[in-house]
């Protein structure tokens, strides 16, 4: 699965993207965020406040209960500030 990070989440995590193989118990977005937080360091710091973390799967916004599949492109980022 391809993970992408943007804005200050990218800066805190220290990378813009990575390929990961999810453990079988990670089935949805909430599980993914817990799993990433469990890596500690920049991940735990960047994802500590779930209120300001947005997730998109295959270019659409999704909620925490959205199921994940191999081959999904998952982006994690803060609230948007364009315009």
């Amino acid at each position: 699965m391809k993970l992408l990070y943007f804005a200050w989440l990218r800066a805190r995590i220290g990378r813009a993207e990575e390929e990961v193989r999810l453990p079988p118990e990670v089935r949805d977005v909430a599980g993914l965020l817990d799993w990433l937080r469990g890596r500690g360091g920049g991940y735990a710091e960047a994802l500590c406040n779930p209120k300001i973390v947005r997730v998109a799967v295959n270019h659409d916004y999704v909620g925490l209960d959205h199921p994940l599949r191999d081959g999904d492109e998952v982006a994690v980022f803060p609230p948007v500030t364009g315009g």
């Binding site: 980022f77 500030t81 364009g82 315009g83």
Partner: protein, 148 residues
């Protein structure tokens, strides 16, 4: 039409092109967003705009389609820039063309409000103390909610 680009744009030329060849159009409404100089001790010397290529275009196209569903528009245009921008630079252009002004004005307002909360762009500011990420504002969410 959607364009996501690093380069500046010519507002007059874009509006002319939007209405060209369509005599039904009675008016064009437009909004141009600029980089603001906030002044003060944290004077912002420039903005860096980052976006999510692929999702940006998809979200902008969806927002544009929604505007065409809600109002009788003959044409519309969204241009959003990314990269490094300085105070006074243009960031975004939204333009809507319709036989009558009500639809054009309302759709233009809708598009800029929704774009600000849906399109995956992020601003960071260059200040004398280093890079500072711009925080999302509740007032932007409220502005977008009015249109739901």
């Amino acid at each position: 039409m959607i364009r996501v680009q690093r380069e500046d744009f010519d507002v007059g030329a874009e509006l002319d092109r939007l209405a060209a060849g369509n005599r039904r159009i009675g008016g064009i409404a437009s909004f141009v967003g600029l980089v603001r100089d906030m002044g003060g001790p944290d004077r912002v010397s420039a903005l860096a705009l980052e976006h999510y290529p692929g999702m940006t275009e998809k979200k902008l196209a969806e927002i544009e389609e929604e505007a065409h569903r809600r109002w009788p528009l003959d044409a519309s245009l969204i241009i959003h820039r990314y990269g490094r921008l300085e105070p006074g630079d243009r960031i975004v252009l939204v333009a809507t063309a319709s036989p009558h002004r009500e639809a054009a004005l309302a759709a233009c307002h809708f598009l800029i409000d929704w774009l600000k909360t849906e399109a995956p762009f992020w601003k960071s500011e260059e200040t004398p103390h280093g890079e500072r990420w711009v925080e999302a504002r509740d007032t932007d969410d409220e502005a977008a909610r009015r249109w739901r």
